[in-house]
């Protein structure tokens, strides 16, 4: 187990290292920090002197080492637009994005498990066919169209739901704000969360259904039937357990993907999260903010993937933890 842990951590560190190099070369090539600092009125000699002083003429590796050192201390530069440390700006928006991801995850789990299991147990029933047909259509609808459709129906035509923004937020632990605590916030959450969930929901229903159908064909389930166990016990205890194994791995990876799709959802609903901020930063060529976003999101991806692999290694006894022979 320890060897597996170390191997996974080593891989995570290598990936983070590559991300930091990419981020740094973006910072190195995109925009001119000097111009942002002093504007146009400074003479060429003074510029050169300032460049030397700031270390902008140092070799690439020296500059990278400085960048990495600062990054490890949590210093990713100062946003040109907000005039605040870039990391702080990003982290202030993190709760809003995580609200979306959390809400969408709840919806996905709440719907996909029962529907997928039902469709696997009764593959011929009318309801299963409707569910599967719905999921094929669902895969084919781009997420931003789902969002637009929901806005059009529930906000413009029916006027039931707010169409943009985050509404009132509640605070917990003194620093973390979440829209889950106020009724206004919850109303604002419903449409974006369903939109975000709509990408993954069809995939998960299909995945759970096909995994469960495969499990139901296996020997140990036939044995359980032969033993005369109650159907409920067979389905929900024996079969479901093994169905969920692959679902965990896919699910973990998809959490990272959801962070990517929050950019789209946040754009449609003008949700004040990290993705919306990132697109604004791109339009303003706010390099430190772009770099900070890359590193934060890269870290989220790497951390979720590592944790998922470790959990998988723990729950699935057939994963070869020791290098494999």
């Amino acid at each position: 187990m320890l060897a597996f842990l170390i191997k996974r951590l080593a891989q995570a560190i290598v990936v983070m290292f590559v991300i930091s190099i990419i981020s740094f070369s973006i910072q190195d090539n995109l925009g001119d920090p000097l111009r942002e600092l002093v504007g146009q009125s400074v003479s060429e000699e003074e510029r050169q002197a300032l460049r030397d002083e700031m270390g902008l003429n140092d070799p690439f590796l020296v500059q990278y080492a400085r960048f990495a050192g600062n990054a490890l201390h949590g210093d990713l530069g100062t946003s040109y637009f907000f005039k605040e440390p870039a990391l702080d700006v990003i982290l202030k928006k993190l709760p809003a994005t995580l609200d979306l991801v959390f809400g969408a995850t709840l919806i996905i789990i709440g719907f996909s498990v029962p529907l997928g299991v039902y469709a696997a147990i009764n593959p011929r029933s009318m309801f299963s066919k409707i569910v599967m047909g719905f999921s094929t259509v669902g895969i084919s609808v781009p997420v931003f169209l789902t969002g637009i459709g929901l806005i059009y129906l529930f906000s413009i035509e029916l006027g039931w739901m707010p169409s943009f923004g985050r509404g009132d937020v509640g605070h917990i632990f003194g620093f973390w704000d979440t829209a889950f605590l106020t009724s206004d916030g919850l109303a604002h959450l419903v449409l974006p969360c369903f939109t975000l969930a709509s990408i993954m929901l069809p995939l998960f229903i299909r995945l759970i259904r096909s995994e469960m159908m495969e499990v139901l064909q296996s020997e140990y389930i036939k044995f359980a039937w032969a033993k005369g166990l109650a159907p409920k016990r067979i389905y929900y205890l024996h079969a479901l357990k093994n169905t969920m194994l692959p679902v965990i791995t896919v699910g973990g990876v998809q959490i990272g993907t959801m962070v990517a799709y929050t950019i789209l959802t946040e754009t449609v609903f003008q949700w004040p999260g990290m993705g919306f901020l990132f697109l604004e930063a791109i339009n303003r060529v706010d390099t430190p903010l772009i770099v900070a976003y890359l590193i934060v999101v890269g870290a989220i991806f790497v951390i979720t993937n590592t944790i998922v692999d470790l959990i998988y290694g723990l729950v699935n006894p057939t994963v070869k933890l020791f290098g494999g022979k």
Binding site: T136, S140, F144, L145, I148, S163, L264
Partner: protein
């Protein structure tokens, strides 16, 4: 002359073989597959013949009159019979713009998937055939690449390019950039599938025979093994084209894709979204439906191919 006779006979019998195949038979009994195929063919024809079918040229600023902007479809009260699907915010005929948009979307989707397939097949063949260290390195790379979602990678790469090049130059390069980014980001899908089939094929006797005959590795890989891995490639290709079209639409919606002057379906939807609150629903809804139907029929065809060819796809 003898040769041509033989070749002709060969093609005839190939056609007959096709007519008698399981593939053709299951196509004949599957209504959904037939309809999807017909709709898809209609899309392809519309895309190919867009310059002939479209009553206006949306790329030509001279034919556009801003006074015609935001006209509803002709079946509505204020509609104009010249523009049967209405006009967009710039006064372009929506029907013509959609035809051209479909052309752009399909072209990007297909080119991107061709690039994916090329990269993925080469890497997958090498990884599976050579094996050992090369294999584990390439597959590790594929794992890492897959763990970052395509969408994320594409958004970041395109965003950074847009910030570096400036919007003007970027818009001219947008199509190439989209093809490159979507093409490069998804190669592991192909590589994994091809590698899995190569591993199975490699053990078979015809490969041994080819090796004993002294054929070189590239020839064995491309001429002998590759044809036997075609059915999984075909299955993922349909789904991948659908995914590429969705990705392109999403990127264009974010303003990182095709410019409004040369719109794909995604950028049309994006430009209409600003007007949906003022009641001009058709600029968003009609291209949206066109996009959904296109992706849906491709997914349905992919599902059908998967059921018929039943390849052992890479799972997980």
């Amino acid at each position: 002359m003898n040769m041509t006779a033989i070749v002709e006979e060969q093609t005839v019998s190939n056609w007959q073989r096709f007519r008698q195949s399981h593939f053709w038979h299951s196509f004949c009994i599957d209504k959904v597959a037939q309809i999807s195929f017909l709709v898809f063919v209609a899309y392809v024809i519309a895309a190919l013949l867009a310059p002939l079918m479209a009553p206006f040229d949306p790329y030509d600023p001279g034919s556009i009159d801003i006074m015609n902007s935001e006209l509803p479809p002709s079946w509505q009260e204020e509609g104009d019979a010249t523009f049967w699907l209405g006009t967009d915010a710039q006064g372009r005929d929506l029907w013509s713009t959609i035809l051209y948009g479909t052309r752009v979307s399909l072209m990007i989707g297909i080119c991107a998937v061709m690039l994916q397939a090329f990269l993925g097949i080469c890497i997958g063949l090498v990884a599976g055939y050579v094996g050992g260290k090369v294999d584990s390195l390439l597959m590790r790379l594929a794992d890492v690449q897959l763990s970052f979602s395509t969408m994320m990678v594409a958004i970041i790469v395109l965003a950074v390019f847009q910030a570096t090049f400036g919007t003007q130059l970027y818009q001219e390069l947008a199509m190439v950039m989209l093809i490159l980014v979507i093409g490069i980001a998804e190669w592991p899908q192909y590589a994994r599938t091809v590698r899995a089939s190569v591993l199975a094929e490699k053990e078979k006797e015809y490969v041994d025979a080819a090796r004993v005959m002294g054929l070189r590795a590239p020839r064995i890989m491309f001429r002998h093994i590759l044809p036997n891995t075609l059915s999984p490639i075909l299955v993922i290709s349909t789904v991948q084209v659908a995914n590429a079209i969705i990705s392109e639409a999403a990127l264009s919606f974010l303003g990182l894709g095709m410019p409004v002057s040369q719109p794909s379906l995604g950028s049309l939807i994006s430009s209409g979204f600003e007007y949906i609150f003022s009641g001009s629903w058709w600029i968003t809804v009609i291209p949206g439906l066109v996009l959904i139907v296109l992706v849906l029929v491709m997914n349905l065809l992919g599902d059908w191919l998967r059921d018929v060819l039943n390849p052992k796809l890479y799972k997980g």
